[in-house]
């Protein structure tokens, strides 16, 4: 990034205008995944395994196929690894296919085994009952520690990669080890060493909109797909691979997306709907039920962790070691490496070692959930730090400040930090009235820091100017938190025209170059950077047109407040030319003016936050109430501060749910016991206080306006902050999430 791109004084950035999709969303006319219809449309439904682990002996679809309302039935035989002209898939595509439609074995309760398309949604559901599947039920395992034990049933032989040390169970499929220094020597230097074990359960992303799609694939090999997704180019290439078709022949349009949080960064029903459509040559719509969402999509990993930290009496951490075992369902991919790398990242450590395991079990394939892997590690590490502070009589913020990573610190996972804002968040936390407010009896206060890498990713943006001087901005990252508003603000800043004159749209895969998924807190950073560059590209051309008209060199023209102006007194004496003047005659001065930018930006800039929470524990019932909550996080530069606050608040509340209520509960039979919102209880309005926010702005050197992604870090501190508050309130250390009333009562009882 060239230094001359930097900007610190802003006209539009940092204001809080209405979002462009606001009216559609308050009137009910915004079109989400399930809101699309097509002529001749059929309805699809998916048959799912009732077993956690079973060999599929036989699938008889003849009765379903014979039913008058049924137009197509598909099984694994209809996907590309079984289609002769397209030899087998490899790597993650194969894993996704195996998840989308089971092959030889059903690997978890809810695993898809067949699907139908019928004339109505009711007919499709009824037809599923006509499909006969013969299963040979196999032993199963759903717990991470049990899945690593020598006698655990093997989910899939040969799934482990080169990183796994010899002698591990075949369910351990990836291994990560990193660190530096001598942790044993470090522990010997400490005045107090605490080693403890922690467990977190899988939580679901819990987006309110179930997965939905409308697919059309004809026998000409050309396809159209409408779906709710965080990344339609990923959907395009994955579906094309699974169906054995050319990527460019499939056009994917992203609907408005009703929440994703990482859970909509892969495909589930989309390839199935396409396969059904191809078979019957009609559009097919599939909408998941909530129970299907819980049983067969997304949850995050469950984790079992051991953390050991040594501290001197003055609060200096002398050594830290963590072992993090993450269960990611019946496929490789649990982010044990991410957990390990993030766990100690807030601290400047001489001696540190972190080990991460990716473990398979008979559960749905884990999907990313907001800073995937980081919250669990932070729960374990920040709990131990809290306990050390309690035992040594130290202030938890002072201790974190004493050990905090700064610019130039070598991160626990390797690289040196560029400019970062952890210290600023801690100082803001210490100065916040919340931290000094008195507590009532029965209440406890907890703090925690959190870290997330943030991501750049492949990005394309186009910006086209209209004759009347307005601009249309095409981005390729589905808007999951108000990003169309942020993009328009950044474009307005560069073009110098009002925010309202810019229309930002999420383009489909046929009208823009490749874009990576909306994940990794990358959208405001990467699509924002590309928007700025695309707008600058358009400005260059506007300056060229003005220069040509004035008969002066292009470099004698500069862009100021939405106008071309001579760059100095020597350039000549010309009146400023507003953007609309230049675009009005662009057709006859060289043609349409558009800007575009394509790149993989590398300077995302890591992100830190500090949370303060007050909790009250009812010793009679074990119920925890969150009394007060404050989120302090570095945004680099908040483009639209209201939406930054929204990310902080949403992340914190998802963390509250994960800490206090949410968990996947499996029965002895390996079946999910709580696959509806009544039993998988996410926070509701009456559970919560207002969530206070403080936006710290330490500019990211890797972005022209200083932006750091803010979407994910907000869920990293809450698990530990709340566990620390609850432990301090209850007088007993809570080591297992969620801290549901029965667990708290049991802990209180054990403590006498």
């Amino acid at each position: 990034m060239a230094l001359d791109d930097r900007k610190s004084e802003f006209t539009f950035v940092g204001t809080r205008p209405d979002r462009p999709d606001g009216l559609d969303k308050v009137t009910g006319r915004a079109k989400f995944g399930a809101d699309a219809y097509a002529p001749g449309m059929l309805h699809g439904a998916v048959l799912r395994s009732p077993h956690a682990h079973a060999r599929i002996v036989k699938i008889d679809t003849s009765k379903a196929e014979a039913h008058k309302d049924v137009k197509a039935v598909v099984t694994r035989a209809d996907f590309s690894d079984r289609v002769p002209f397209h030899p087998g898939l490899e790597g993650e595509f194969w894993n996704v296919l195996e998840n989308v439609m089971a092959g030889e074995k059903a690997l978890y309760d809810g695993h898809a085994v067949a699907a139908v398309a019928a004339t109505s949604a009711l007919a499709a559901r009824d037809a599923l009952k006509l499909i006969e599947v013969e299963y040979e039920v196999l032993p199963h395992v759903t717990d991470v520690d049990k899945a690593m034990a020598p006698d655990a049933p093997v989910i899939r032989e040969g799934a482990a990669d080169y990183s796994v040390p010899e002698g591990m169970h075949p369910n351990v499929v990836r291994y990560h080890e990193s660190g530096r220094g001598d942790v044993e020597a470090g522990f010997a230097e400490a005045d107090l060493v605490i080693e403890d074990s922690f467990v977190t359960e899988a939580a679901h992303q819990g987006y309110i909109e179930p997965h939905a799609c409308l697919a059309t694939l004809g026998n000409d090999g050309k396809g159209e797909l409408w779906c709710c997704t965080q990344g339609h180019w990923l959907v395009q290439k994955t579906c094309a691979a699974l169906l054995g078709m050319e990527t460019s022949q499939l056009r994917v349009t992203a609907s408005e997306i009703g929440g994703g949080f990482g859970g909509k960064t892969t495909v589930f029903i989309e390839p199935v709907a396409l396969a059904l459509s191809r078979k019957v040559n009609r559009p097919v719509k599939i909408v998941m039920t909530r129970s299907e969402v819980f049983r067969a999509t997304g949850p995050t990993s469950s984790a079992s962790m051991d953390v050991k930290i040594g501290m001197k009496k003055d609060g200096t951490i002398t050594a830290a070691k963590g072992i993090f075992r993450l269960q990611g369902g019946a496929f490789p991919g649990a982010p044990g490496d991410m957990t390990a790398m993030c766990a100690f990242a807030p601290y400047d450590l001489t001696n540190v070692k972190q080990i991460g395991y990716d473990v398979m079990a008979n559960r749905p394939k884990q999907a990313a959930y907001r800073a995937p892997g980081a919250p669990m590690g932070a729960f374990a590490v920040e709990s131990v730090i809290d306990e050390l502070c309690n035992k040594l009589g130290l202030d938890p913020i002072d201790v974190r400040l004493k050990n905090a990573a700064k610019e130039g610190t070598k991160a626990s996972y390797g690289p040196r930090y560029d400019r970062i804002g952890l210290v600023e968040t801690l100082e803001a936390a210490k100065a916040h009235p919340h931290y000094a407010a008195p507590l009532e009896p029965g209440q406890g206060r907890g703090v925690s820091c959190g870290f997330w890498f943030n991501h750049g990713g492949e990005t394309s943006v186009s910006l086209a100017l209209s004759m009347d001087g307005s601009a249309q901005l095409m981005v390729g990252t589905p808007d999951i938190g108000g990003s169309r508003a942020s993009m328009a603000l950044m474009a307005a800043e560069v073009l110098g025209i009002p925010y309202e004159n810019i229309r930002a749209t999420v383009a489909d895969t046929a009208t823009l170059g490749y874009n990576d998924v909306s994940h990794g807190s990358r959208v405001t950073y990467a699509s924002g950077l590309a928007t700025i560059k695309a707008a600058q590209h358009a400005v260059e051309q506007l300056c060229e047109r003005a220069a040509a008209k004035w008969g002066i060199p292009t470099d004698a023209v500069k862009w100021e407040d939405g106008c071309a102006v001579p760059s100095g007194p020597n350039a000549g004496d010309f009146d400023p030319r507003p953007l609309a003047d230049i675009t009005a005659e662009m057709g006859r001065t060289g043609g349409p003016i558009s800007g575009h930018f394509e790149a993989t930006p590398e300077g995302a800039g890591v992100s830190f936050g500090t949370h303060i929470v007050d909790a009250e524990v009812d010793p009679e019932t074990g119920k925890t109430s969150i009394i007060r909550y404050t989120v302090i996080q570095d945004a680099g530069k908040a483009i639209h501060p209201t939406y930054v606050e929204g990310q902080y608040q949403g992340g914190a509340v998802q963390g509250i749910g994960w800490a206090l209520n949410e968990e996947y509960v499996y029965g002895e039979d390996g079946r999910l016991q709580n696959s509806i919102f009544l039993d998988y209880r996410i926070p509701v309005a009456s559970d919560l206080p207002m969530i206070d926010t403080v936006i710290v702005e330490v500019p990211n050197p890797g972005h022209p306006f200083g932006v750091r992604g803010v979407g994910e870090t907000g869920i990293v501190p809450p698990l530990a902050a709340i566990a620390n508050a609850v432990s301090n309130a209850a007088g007993v250390r809570m080591r297992q999430l969620p801290m549901s009333p029965p667990r708290i009562l049991a802990a209180l009882k054990e403590n006498g």
């Binding site: 809080r16 209405d18 979002r19 999709d21 606001g22 009216l23 559609d24 969303k25 308050v26 009137t27 009910g28 006319r29 915004a30 079109k31 989400f32 399930a34 809101d35 109505s120 949604a121 009711l122 992303q205 819990g206 987006y207 309110i208 909109e209 179930p210 408005e256 997306i257 009703g258 929440g259 994703g260 949080f261 909408v287 039920t289 909530r290 999951i480 938190g481 108000g482 209201t642 939406y643 606050e645 929204g646 608040q649 949403g650 914190a652 509340v653 998802q654 509806i676 919102f677 009544l678 996410i682 926070p683 509701v684 309005a685 009456s686 559970d687 919560l688 207002m690 969530i691």
Partner: protein
């Protein structure tokens, strides 16, 4: 199963549709009447994304059958605005950014409007409990509650 004929009134308009007796009111609003503002988030009455009013009563349309609409008055999110004039709640939801993804917003607006009609001066706690049947996963409810409370204050001043 043969279909039944239903005559009802939605957002002030007389409408008719044919439905399978097993189809929910939500399915009928969405698939027969093209009113896709109400969403199915759960199908079990736990998320409130399908909230509508049924003869003035706030209900989950996923828990009612289409045939029950016969002769009733249904109000959905599509009927909240008066032509091109937004209801104060709709304006405040945009102004406060009381929505992120927006999929819960139709249900929350219907529920919040119902609250303010019954209780023009709710406490924050009353607003939080009234809206406890409407799940939002994006916002943490903070801005939603602020938008509802501010709308209530504005409507009280105007009346």
């Amino acid at each position: 199963m043969s279909k039944l004929h239903v005559s009802t009134n939605v957002n002030g308009d007389d409408v008719e549709f044919l439905c399978d007796p097993r189809e929910t009111l939500l399915d009928c609003l969405r698939d027969k009447l093209n009113l896709t503002g109400a969403k199915e988030g759960c199908g079990t009455g736990d998320c409130g994304a399908c909230s509508v009013t049924f003869d003035g009563r706030l209900v989950c349309s996923c828990l009612m059958l289409g045939v029950e609409a016969e002769g009733k008055q249904i109000e959905t999110v599509e009927g909240i605005a008066d032509g091109d004039v937004l209801h104060p709640l709709q304006k405040k939801f945009i102004e406060y950014a009381a929505l992120q993804c927006g999929v819960c917003t139709p249900g929350i607006l219907v529920a919040a409007k119902s609250l303010l009609e019954k209780n023009p001066n709710p406490t924050e706690e009353e607003a939080r409990y009234w809206l406890a049947g409407n799940l939002c996963r994006c916002t943490g409810y903070d801005k939603i509650i602020r938008a509802v409370m501010d709308t209530a204050a504005e409507l009280r001043e105007a009346s």
